[in-house]
Amino acid sequence: MDSRRKLVIVIAAMLAVLVATPYSGSYVIVLVTHALIFAILAMSLDILLGYTGLPSLGQAAYLGVGAYLTAILASRFQFGLDWTFWLVVVLGILIGAATAALFGLFAVHAGGVYFLMITLALGMCVWGLAYRWNSLTGGDNGIVLPPRPAFGIDLADDVTFFYLVFGFFAVSLVMMAILARSPFGRSLVGIRENEPRMRILGYNTWLHKYVAFIIAGGFGGLAGVLWAHAHGLVSPEDVVLATSVDALLMVVLGGPGTLVGGAIGAGIVVFLREYLSTLVPWWQYVLGGVYVLTILYLPGGLMSIPERIRGSRALSRRARETRNMQTSPP
């Protein structure tokens, strides 16, 4: 699909979401807001997975540190509830990046399955601390946040908050897209394809991966700040393994290496978890089924469907032409 067409479709879809959501009923607004926040997390993971080829099972950790920071500042220090909200955003990104910088030292030199395991373990460490460090994190009670910030605009209004989150999502998408198309982004893809070759060409692959890891952590922290205000509650349940796994599924479902795929995946998974679960008791069959079917039959994710359709259309067209050539008179 040529990139101009893709761009138009993406913009159109985003406009549709932006315009239609505020009129769709109070619960839908909340769901879409959650999906957008998760989309930021999923896209951050896509940088690691889709572009650099590093499958992280611990992305929720960065969401967690960002969310807890926001919650602690808001509830204990009354900080971040007015214009200082923007400061908290910056701090959230920084703490996500800093945590990733620390974790990256342990993780980045590994690859493949070992990377999976290390990031899993690191994610569990964050969970363990959130769960047991009662004085800081409130333990399993979690932290309840005061009402959302107001600075000229009142974020307590769901529609206003939705616009804010959408703004962050759009900016994140643009920034990550620029990163992906930059020389740095291209070298990440090169590392994913063939790391030894990149090293021979003189690239410091460890440093590239490390930086990508930190960038992903920063975006994860941003998602965490928004998450805290979206839910009004931060709890160790938010940083369990299942959250990281969900993020991974979103990327794989939508299509790794496409950024937008992560957003689509986020929408689907959030819909399943928070909407379907209220309609039928057997929704976990659907969730499990989606996992299984995606892995088996859609390795490129949903974003690869148009290519496959065109691919098969091209195939059948060629078959037709061949037949015509054979049957037409000489």
Binding site: I118, A121, M124, C125, R132, L249, V252, Q284, G288, L296
Partner: protein, 286 residues
């Protein structure tokens, strides 16, 4: 802390490690041979407990439940491997996600079949007593767990070291391509190992069911601990699984008794360290 404390805690840690060995040895083998991170392993464990309950309810025999439950879980594992994992080839990410999908499916199915109650496996009366030595109480069931782990460990070791099948497995763990080169059917080996891993986990579930209970959520609760064992002990190594389970069992026990606030940290931090310093674990091979 008197002698009583140290003796009992050590005994408890060892018995907990014994249970972990049953759970983790299968996971370690699966990883060693197939490089698959099986996130459905906790589900195998839990399924073992549930199937055992059904066997006990219908036949009244706890003794029968042990092999039957383990075999049923092995069959499930076999099915999963043949029909779903095999076609993927070597792709760790997709295999992880596939196993998670199955974990969710199993969780829902278990809920539909056995309901949501906290269930309990009642072992025979003899095992519910405690052996009293010198004023120390040693619950018979914990002794049984240690015994079970020793027996299974011995059988596994003999199989791996002394039989042809074992040699094939070891070859595949060492270098799958070379193994294929000398004519070993590595896909058969994979199938066997996956089924064996599920068997061991299912057996662990029956044994653990009397000790931990059988209830929804146990599958995901026990999974990170199994991973801690495999990572610390070394993936693909039976000896590693044994040492790892012992270490984790003792560390977890003493950690909780002596440093309760950071007990989860004492479990996962060593895991991170090992992964950073020697990713293949204490006894793992590259």
């Amino acid at each position: 802390m008197d002698t009583n404390f140290w003796v009992i805690q050590a005994f408890n840690g060892v018995s907990y490690g014994a249970l972990l060995f049953l759970l983790a040895s299968g996971l370690s083998l699966i990883f060693g041979v197939m490089r698959i991170v099986n996130l459905a392993h906790g589900s195998f464990f839990l399924l073992g407990g549930y199937v055992a309950l059904t066997v006990i309810w219908t036949t009244g025999s706890w003794l029968l439940a042990l092999p039957v439950a383990a075999l049923v879980v092995a069959a499930v594992g076999l099915l999963m491997e043949r029909v779903f994992l095999r076609p993927l080839g070597f792709d760790p990410l997709r295999q992880v996600l596939l196993s998670v999908g199955f974990a969710y499916l199993f969780q829902q199915a278990a809920l539909d079949i056995w309901g949501g109650d906290n269930l309990d496996i009642i072992p025979p009366a003899m095992l519910r007593e405690s052996a009293v030595v010198d004023g120390f109480y040693f619950p018979m069931y914990r002794i049984f767990m240690i015994g079970m782990a020793l027996v299974i460990g011995l059988i596994l070791w003999l199989t791996m070291e002394k039989t042809r099948v074992g040699a094939m497995v070891r070859a595949t763990v060492d270098d799958a391509e070379m193994a294929r080169g000398v004519g070993i059917d590595t896909s058969r080996v994979s199938m066997f190992i996956f089924a064996l891993g599920a068997f061991l986990a299912g057996l662990g579930g029956v044994v653990g069911g009397a000790f931990l209970g059988v209830y929804p959520g146990l599958d995901f609760a026990i999974l990170p601990i199994a991973f801690a064992v495999v990572i610390i002990g070394g993936m693909g190594s039976l000896g590693g699984a044994a040492v790892g389970s012992l270490l984790v069992g003792l560390a977890d026990n003493f950690g909780k008794a002596l440093f309760p606030e950071i007990s989860y940290f004492t479990l996962y931090a060593p895991m991170v360290l090992i992964l950073a310093l020697k990713p293949t674990g204490l006894f793992g091979r590259e």
